[in-house]
């Protein structure tokens, strides 16, 4: 294992390099989701019938999942708080709770999609359902990625190592949460 290069230890801006990198990562992610959402909104405006299709989504499940993500974001904040005070074990514990939220979100999503697919609302049914599954699917892949990274960060934090990463993965998790805050009304509620 090589030591970190001098480059990594410098900070001309005063901002830790890892945090800078996460912000740039989020900037690139924002435009990816921005592209999906802009395409969807343009279609939505041009196709009033999308509202009828959207009526077949399950708002209760969607709302429940929104709450799950919001609560998991709170756990991520607690993890960050622990990491700031040097409590690696506490940070790991709260990260595991956050991952629990991610798993819960994915389980609920699976049930929801199973119900919809069994009613014939598949990804190829029409353009609305194509967007529905694609947008939520890209989001879900970010949930999975976030959960894996959190487990990895927690495995270091448990030993009191690389505690700054707790904050970075937390930033990412808040972003994943925020994307859902946009997706939920656009896909489920807007008539």
């Amino acid at each position: 294992m090589m030591g970190k290069p001098i480059a990594t230890t410098r900070s001309a801006t005063g901002i830790p390099t890892g945090r800078l990198a996460v912000w740039w990562l989020l900037a690139s992610e924002i435009v990816i989701f921005g592209g999906v959402l802009a395409s969807y909104i343009i279609h939505r405006i041009g196709h009033p019938e999308f509202g009828d299709y959207a009526a077949h989504t399950n708002q209760h499940i969607g709302f429940f999942n929104t709450c799950v993500l919001l609560i998991s974001s709170y756990f991520a904040v607690r993890a960050h708080h622990c990491a700031e005070t040097g409590d690696g074990k506490g940070a790991a514990k709260w990260l595991y709770y956050t991952v629990g939220g991610a798993v819960m979100f994915l389980c609920v999503k699976s049930v929801e999609w199973t119900i919809e697919i069994s009613h014939g609302y598949t990804i190829t049914a029409n353009a609305f359902w194509s967007f529905y599954y694609t947008a939520a699917g890209i989001h879900a892949s970010h949930v999975i990625a976030g959960a894996i990274v959190m487990l990895w960060v927690a495995s270091y934090a448990k030993k009191g190592k690389e505690l700054q990463r707790v904050e970075y993965v937390g930033l990412y998790w808040h972003f994943v949460d925020l994307v859902w805050i946009f997706l939920f009304p656009l896909l489920y509620i807007a008539k």
Binding site: P5, T17, V31, I32, G35, S39, I123, A127
Partner: protein, 579 residues
């Protein structure tokens, strides 16, 4: 003239202590294949890019031969079928932009130069850097694989407009088009990772004393290009996923019969595709801005103006994309807006050209090989820029759209970027990369053997375009108004010029490998240049600098009247100035 390198103890001197630990013997695999060293990764990008350039050039040869001698069996290829022609044209464009211009101009020069010019030992995330190259290599392999699958490679043009690209029954390349989308998407991921590395390295890892306005222009340009890429590619990544789903699982995002919209793809594509022009242009201009002050022995004229015009170009580049779609059925009022923004964006670019010309004014110009490339960049790019105004104005574009006028125009922009810019950078930094000088005579033969045929290829294509010759046509034999002997002669002329130009590239390849062992030893600073990479040994070892440099001034202090020497390296403190 040898200059004593002032060894400065960096404030981070304590961090240097663990530095020597790295100098253990590494195996071939860990040193050259799985290296995390920015210089090796830069070389990997460069050699991969050059390999892909050979393929892209060979494709151009094959389809140009078909156009000059329709139906003839092309030596080295054989008979070019219409489907093969489409695939060759598509992948020539794809390769030259995504697998040559980007890896060499941004990734190779960025990886090699950024840590050296900023005075640090590596990128801030070396392992992320290695992963970026590995994903890039994978993307190249996927693209190459797409040529040999059943029904051949994708033939729906590098812009991949649906519905042609979205359905196998239209594209006739069910697997080829899917592999093409996957390869392009992987390439984007690789450059997003590399870009985050470049941006954070520039922001955080500069040598002590190096302020924002002390950063060499080429570093700025590569970082700005990375930011532009990052902010423009997102919608196309989303679009690529949608296109992939249309191809593979039968969604209808771009299928009007099922509520989709094919023009949406054009918006997503060009929202990225036009900034992409500047993504590759800015690093090329940065390279020119490094070379010209050194070989004119003059301070770069208006350093900050160059940067502000680059910022302006970057911002404006997000508002010009629909000039590619004037005949795609967009609202004519929108066409007016995009005409105005497109004409506006030529102002900052013209200003950059003026800055370079002003740097030359009154300088002691040496026409070395890198300088010849740098100067020819300006001359050739201006032709590309000026012909662009005719295409940016919707009135004339309606006539020129999809003719060879467009094709010649963007080759007059992309050739200066991807070929001239690359050769300028390669010949300039070759001594630093390999520790030897290239042969100047061979370099000049190669330069003239490239530049003259290049103009001989594309000036006839302007004329053919003005005469109405449409793009993406396999053979003009069946178009009586385009099959006249005069037009066919121009096609033959362009094709022969291309073959001459390709043959002259052998001179460069020979020079490159011959000079690796036979070239004159370069020493640290063969050009008496100021920027920090010339402080390091040639080639720089692991960790780059024996002592990490400290910076005292900007990068272009040449021929100052108050100094005996005509250069003043960034790391030399003021008190030791008079020698």
């Amino acid at each position: 003239m040898a200059h004593p390198i002032t060894e400065q103890q960096a404030p981070h001197g304590h961090a240097d202590a663990h530095h020597d630990d790295h100098h253990h013997e590494q195996s071939f695999w860990s040193k050259y294949v799985f290296s995390v060293d920015h210089k090796i990764i830069g070389m990997q990008y460069m050699f991969t890019g050059m390999f892909m350039a050979i393929i892209g050039g060979f494709f151009a040869y094959a389809f140009r031969m078909q156009l000059a001698f329709p139906g003839m069996s092309v030596p080295g290829w054989g008979h070019v079928s219409p489907a093969e022609y489409n695939s060759l044209v598509t992948n020539h464009g794809t390769i030259m932009i995504f697998w040559v211009a980007m890896p060499v101009l941004i990734a190779a020069f960025g990886n090699f130069l950024i840590p050296l010019m900023l005075g640090c030992d590596d990128m801030v995330f070396p392992r992320l850097n290695r992963l970026s190259y590995q994903i890039f290599l994978l993307s190249a392999i996927v693209l190459l694989a797409s040529f040999v699958v059943e029904n051949g490679g994708f033939g729906g043009a590098w812009t991949a407009y649906p519905p042609l690209s979205a359905k196998a029954e239209y594209s006739l390349t069910p697997l080829g088009s899917t592999l093409w989308v996957i390869a392009v998407a992987l390439e984007f991921v690789a450059f997003l990772m590399g870009g985050i590395n470049f941006i954070t390295t520039m922001m955080n890892s500069r040598a002590p004393g190096m302020k924002m306005w002390d950063i060499p222009v080429v570093v700025w340009m590569i970082v700005l290009a990375s930011i532009l890429f990052m902010l423009s590619v997102g919608p196309l990544i989303a679009g690529a996923i949608m296109l992939l789903f249309d191809q593979t699982i039968g969604t209808g995002f771009f299928d009007p019969a099922r509520g989709g919209d094919p023009v949406l793809w054009q918006h997503l594509f060009w929202f990225f595709g036009h900034p992409e022009v500047y993504v590759v242009l800015l690093p090329a201009i940065g390279i020119v801005c490094e070379i010209v002050p050194i070989f004119a022995r003059k301070k770069l004229f208006a350093y900050k103006t160059v940067l502000f015009t680059a910022f302006a170009t970057g911002v404006l580049s997000f508002f010009v994309w629909a000039h590619h779609q004037f005949i795609a059925g967009i609202d004519p009022r929108m066409a007016n807006v995009f005409t105005v923004t497109t004409v506006m964006i030529s102002v900052p670019l013209a200003e950059m050209m003026f800055v370079i010309v002003a740097t030359l004014y009154g300088g002691q110009i040496t026409l070395s090989v890198p300088m010849l490339w740098a100067l020819s960049f300006i001359g050739e790019f201006i032709i590309g820029g000026i012909t662009g105004i005719f295409l940016g104005a919707s009135g004339s574009d309606i006539y020129f759209h999809d003719t060879y006028f467009v094709l010649a125009h963007f080759h007059y922009t992309f050739f200066p970027i991807a070929i001239i810019g690359v050769y300028a950078g390669l010949t300039h930094w070759y001594p630093k990369m390999f520790g030897r000088m290239l042969n100047e005579t061979l370099g000049k033969i190669h330069f003239w053997g490239t530049i003259i045929p290049f103009n001989m290829i594309f000036i006839p294509l302007f004329l053919l375009g003005l005469a109405g010759q449409h793009r993406r046509i396999w053979s003009y034999v069946n178009f009586p108004e385009l099959a006249s002997p005069e037009m066919q002669n121009l096609r033959v002329f362009a094709t022969v010029s291309l073959v001459i130009m390709l043959l002259f590239q052998l001179v460069f390849i020979f020079n490159f490998f011959w000079s690796l062992t036979r070239g004159k030893k370069a020493g640290r600073n063969p050009y008496n240049a100021n920027t920090l990479e010339w402080v390091a040994p040639s080639p720089p070892g692991h960790g780059n600098f024996a002592e990490m440099p400290t910076v005292y001034r900007g990068p272009y202090e040449y021929s100052r009247p108050d100094r005996d020497e005509d250069f003043w390296p960034q790391n030399v403190p003021a008190e030791s100035s008079s020698s």
